[in-house]
Structure formats: structure tokens, C-alpha cells
Symmetry: C2
Subunit: 298 residues, 2 copies
């Protein structure tokens, strides 16, 4: 079966349509890569591009759009609400099918070297691809942003993993890495009391002793003609902490407050496996093999 | 998104490997069709071939292997335990993805005419493609088998839907139709009492007032080092009667006998949608769209 990697690079341009289009076109030009989404945010002045394909083709597309961004974006003139350090701010590789995290780390490492060597841009490795412990989290690498990093980059502790110890004059620096697919998952409660959603969020989030791969908050949202409390969740590793386990815990915690779970929503994309895991759990499927899925034989 | 139809023709040859291979090769020769399985049964003297692909390509492959079987199989010399009326005994089309049952019925009708016209073989339409009410069920069409149909076929009520009112001298007659994907699904009980499995099977099968699209029996099977009772099920329309509903009913009926459900098994292939339906049900997913599945965007 074919290997599938997703790549979701973020670029520091959310306003000039011709620049956004040129970056998207750099992805489309590569065979065996499919551009899934281009989401520009003018107030952040940032665009998030999503594409998938064979590992080497995806790496090529990532390099091409990084090169295009370096040509067209000048960080000296960039302003926006979102923290950033370069024209191509961050490039994560995400395993989707028949690809291990190790392969994505390897891919990130190769791309980082290529960007450093060919484009003369300093590159930091983050998340699963991080070589230095303090560089796992993106905010730590972005500290001081483009403007601050100009002088900080020469300090030993801020030196990039690859490339020169000084920012590219227009493209700044770039972060490359590998991470799990992130599923945006919301669970709606049959109450308007947002405090209950906050308490439940605390019961499942890692920071409060909950599940390792769960980030969660309790908020109030409009559903039809009424306000309801919602547990809004980022599932940062759906294989490590599966959706069904989080859903069952939220149901159980909600019951403790006499509240029912109305339903749940997946926002945006999800890998098939996240839903197969739920079907396997609830149907108590024994010895089920992904190869039994008809569509996976094609 | 591309259309996907499955075809599972049955041929009256399960012993001569060179004939089986020639039939399989007739499928492989067609572009945009993928041969998934070739299962020969020597005692039945019958082979079941499974392939999928674009509707028109699948129809072409079905015609080609029917033609090949007519060349290589002589029903005058055929003996086997399984009821049959022709060299190509039956050809069902099954909607898998982005294809309606109506399209499969249309495909069956086109193929039936083509076989009748080009190969001079009488063809009956069955199941969803049946034009005559008494021809929905395969056993009704097969009554008397090849040998009996020789004389019966000239009677008005046995006349084929297409083609001559007499059997092809070596290839006999063929049945073509459209049906839903059949999922073989077993649920294992934490008891050795097969009577409990039989009672539960009766609670879910259509014939005893259960679910419309469920065929079920209670049997005893070996699991590891012990015998357990199993409800063995044919889900003949997983969209009409979903797996999760049958599973939940079996759980509830088992509880009535103080018995736990050990687990369930899917035997062979299943369309992805059957498992997505379960995930949607149990996670109470609101507004979920198949397009949110990452792999379906490729």
C-alpha cells in the first residue's frame, strides 16, 4: 500500500492574493502531491497550506513553496498578530498512512538541511524532530519572534540546527519538524453552565492530570437558538489518546453533574483510523485488520 | 470522487487451475479494475471471483470473464454440490462508493443484454435488478438447476429476461443482478450454551420478526481452548440495518440471559462506511461529512 504524509506549512503572508497563489501553485506543480486546503488569515497576515502525498514528493513540494515564500515575502515589512520568525514560519510533517513517525522525522531532517544549504536560511527542528530538548515546543523556538531573533540567534543556545547563525535578510528563519495529526474535537453538553464544561475539560487535559495527548477548554457556544457549554478539544495524538476514551470520560464526568452529552463534532479533517479505532472499541471487534476495509485494497 | 462498483461472479469450475486462471486473467486485462480475490471450492466445483473498479470497466471485466467461462466450461460435463444453471452461474454488481443501487441495476441490465446478444446465452435478472417479482431470490431462478432448466426454459414463466428461450449448448444460462454489499459478522458470547445463541439469533433475524436485512443463526465455535456460543450473521444491507444496532440488540438480549458479549468479528471485507456508521453512532457525531475523512480527499 502507498505511503501517505501530510504537510501543513505556515507562511507569513495572509493579505496579498498573488503571493498566496504563487505558494499554492508551487505545491500543485509537484506530481503525486495533492493540495487539500489554503487558508489565509488577513489579521494574522498568515496562510496555512495543507497538502498530502508520497513522502519524497511532499518533501519536494515543501521545499518548493518554502523557496517561493523566500523570494516573495520580506520579513522586514511583515506585521501580523500571530507570532512568527520567517517567511516560511513552520513546516510540520504528519504521518497519515503506512508511514511511521520515524520516517517523518527523517523527512524533516532532510528538508531542514536542504533549506539551510540551498536557500541559506537558518532552520530549527521541533516537536518529534527536535534534537535539542528545549526545542520541542514551537513557542520556545519563536521566543522574541523575527525581530528579537536577529540578535539572539548568535547566542549558543539559540543557534539553529542547520544553516547560518544569522537570519536570512528577508526570509528570516524557519522551523521544520514532525508531529502527529491534530484532530479538533468538540463535545456539546446539555447545559448552559460553562463552569461544568470547564471542570470536565480539566478532568481530561494533560495539564490537570488528564490524558497525555489532550488539550481542552470549557467554553460557551451557540447551538441553534440557545447557548450551550462545550468542551473544545485538541487531540494532539489520536493513536496515543483515542477519541472514544475521551468521549467516554466526558460522558462519565458529565453524569456526575447530572448533565447529558448532546453530541460531538469533528472540525475539519480526520484520518480514517481515528474513527476505525472508535468502531473497533464499541463493537468490541476481535482481530480486525485494516486490510479488511474494502477501499484500502484499491 | 471516483465511482466504485464491486462485482462477485460465480463460475462452475473449482477444480481445473488453468480454467480458473484464465477467468482471473480476463479480469486483470481490463484497465481500472482491480482483482481482489479468487476463491475456488473443489467440492462445490465452483469459483468465486471478486473485483472492483469504475462501473463501465467492471461491466467490461464481467463480460470478458463470462465470455471466457463460456469458452472453457462445458455444463454437460459439470458436477458439483452447489446449485447452478450455467458456466457463469451468477454475476452480482454491488455499489461501494459514490454509486447508487439504481446505477448498479442499470449496469446489470446492460450486461444482461450484452451477454444475451453477443454470447447467445439466456440471462435472468435477479435481486434489485429483477423485472419479474418471482425472480428476486436466486434459488427461485435456479430451480431444477442446469439439467432441469433445459426443458423448463421454454415455459412462459421460466423464459429468460434476455436472450433465447433455450439453454446455450455448453454454457447454459446466467443470472445477472444488483445487490447490497454483504458483511459476514459474528458476535461471540461468554457461554457454551448454544441455545442462548439460537434464541438471540431469532431475536434479530427478519424471518422471526427481527431486523429486515439480517440473516442469523446460533452456532457453537471453538475460541482458543474452549467452545463458545456464537451468533453468526449475514448483514445483507448494512445501510438499511446497521452493524451497531444489531450489536446493541445482541448485547441487550444476551444480558437478559445473564450472558456477556465477548466481542464481534467481521469476516472478510467490509466497506469503510459500515464502520464509520458505528463511529458516528457511538460518538454521537453531529454533522459529520464523509469528506472530512482525510483519505477520501485523495
Amino acid at each position: 500500500m502507498s505511503k501517505l504524509v501530510e504537510c501543513v506549512p505556515n507562511f507569513s503572508e495572509g493579505r496579498r492574493p498573488e503571493v498566496i497563489e504563487a505558494i499554492a501553485e508551487a505545491v500543485r506543480q509537484v506530481a503525486n502531491v495533492k493540495l487539500l486546503d489554503v487558508k489565509a488569515d488577513p489579521s494574522h497576515n498568515r496562510v496555512v497550506v495543507t497538502f498530502v502525498g508520497e513522502p519524497q514528493a511532499v518533501k519536494q513540494a515543501a521545499f518548493n513553496c518554502c523557496k517561493k515564500a523566500a523570494e516573495l515575502i520580506d520579513m522586514e515589512k511583515h506585521h501580523g498578530e500571530h507570532p512568527r520568525i520567517g517567511a516560511t514560519d513552520v513546516i510540520p510533517f504528519i504521518p497519515v498512512k503506512n508511514v511511521s513517525m520515524e520516517e517523518c522525522v527523517q523527512l524533516a531532517d532532510e528538508l531542514a538541511q536542504e533549506i539551510a544549504t540551498k536557500l541559506n536560511i537558518p532552520v530549527y527542528l521541533y516537536e518529534e524532530a527536535a534534537k535539542i530538548p528545549g526545542r520541542k515546543a514551537l513557542p520556545d523556538i519563536r521566543k522574541g519572534q523575527y525581530e528579537g531573533l536577529k540578535t539572539e540567534i548568535s547566542k549558543p543556545e539559540r543557534r539553529p540546527d542547520y544553516g547560518p547563525a544569522q537570519l536570512h535578510p528577508t526570509a528570516g528563519a524557519t522551523v521544520v519538524g514532525a508531529r502527529q495529526f491534530l484532530i479538533a474535537y468538540n463535545i456539546n453538553l446539555d447545559t448552559s453552565d460553562v463552569n461544568i464544561a470547564k471542570k470536565i475539560a480539566n478532568s481530561i487535559r494533560e495539564a490537570k492530570g488528564g490524558y497525555k495527548y489532550v488539550r481542552a477548554m470549557g467554553i460557551s457556544v451557540r447551538l441553534g437558538d440557545r447557548d450551550i457549554a462545550q468542551v473544545t478539544i485538541n487531540m494532539v495524538n489520536y493513536q496515543g489518546t483515542p477519541l472514544f476514551r475521551v468521549f467516554e470520560t466526558v460522558k462519565s464526568e458529565a453524569a456526575r453533574y447530572g448533565v447529558n452529552v448532546l453530541g460531538s463534532e469533528i472540525i475539519g479533517l480526520t484520518p480514517m483510523q481515528a474513527l476505525l479505532n472508535a468502531a473497533e472499541f464499541y463493537l468490541r471487534l476481535d482481530g480486525f485488520d485494516r486490510k479488511q476495509v474494502l477501499e484500502d485494497n484499491l
